[in-house]
Symmetry: C2
Subunit: 165 residues, 2 copies
């Protein structure tokens, strides 16, 4: 990525205004995505939290309830409820770890998850097409940005937790 900034006195006021605008737009887009998640979840007879947890399960390998609790910030008790609902809906199965029988793996039922993906493809057809028109270099920049944005959010959360109350 080329992060050139000729002006050594720091970003200009105009530049700063754009950055704040970007922050606002990212937030707005996130809010809309969250709203979409809520509508989708209710269509599937689940909750927003359930759907987010299901996403984490499909992303990772051999995800356990404990890992879900850590990643989401929910208590293990809440996660039990979440996992109950997702399992009852048929999107995952609880599989006991044979090595450590305390643990439970949350095994995604892929053909059911593909149903959800199909919905997303239908409702996001135009967006996926738009994304396809980005050049490799542009995609590279966006990927890198999304990565940094994720890391920034992680670090900000850590920093916030460490601040004295």
């Amino acid at each position: 990525m080329s992060v050139k900034n000729e002006d050594l006195s720091g970003p200009s006021a105009d530049h700063l205004a754009r950055i704040e605008q970007l922050e606002r737009k990212i937030r707005a887009a996130n809010a809309q995505r969250t709203l979409y998640g809520g509508v989708l979840a209710s269509k599937l007879g689940m909750h927003q939290t359930d759907l987010e947890c299901l996403f984490i399960i499909t992303l990772g390998d051999k995800v356990t309830p404990g890992m879900l609790a850590q990643e989401t910030g929910l208590t293990t008790g809440a996660i039990t409820g979440v996992v109950d609902r997702i399992e009852r809906a048929g999107y995952i199965r609880r599989v006991r770890d044979t090595n450590d029988r305390r643990r439970v793996f949350l095994e995604p039922v892929m053909h059911r998850i593909d149903e959800i993906r199909a919905i997303n493809r239908r409702t996001n057809r135009a967006w996926i097409e738009e994304l396809g028109r980005y050049s490799e270099a542009e995609l590279e920049l966006l990927l890198d940005f999304a990565d940094r944005n994720y890391e920034a959010a992680v670090n900000a959360t850590i920093a916030l937790r460490q601040e004295a109350d």
Copy 2:
């Protein structure tokens, strides 16, 4: 923006893989930001929903409870509770519209909101600095992308709502 794609047969498999990766990263960043919002809200003695609503209030002009309900998808009853909490915490004031006395404007108390912004600036110091290093052209691309992403989420939500159950 330059959205060139020489290959008329559509994006390559590699290109598609990158797009999916981008989607996943955006979702992950989104989830982390949501987590941050939760931690921040609890630090402020509020809820995540309250903080999101407060953000909407500070963005718009003369926001009413009804508008909040529409934008968030919550019921007006829930919004009453949200507004009660934000008001009790001192971040907004209810101001009756003198023209239409049924309506209530949610007036942000700026010096209190600046306290929240100060926290965000502290915890996001590194990220803000990183953003400052992006060139104008790059920022332009990112802004445009965030815009499109927002619009895409709006359209996807509409499309999803319209799908037969």
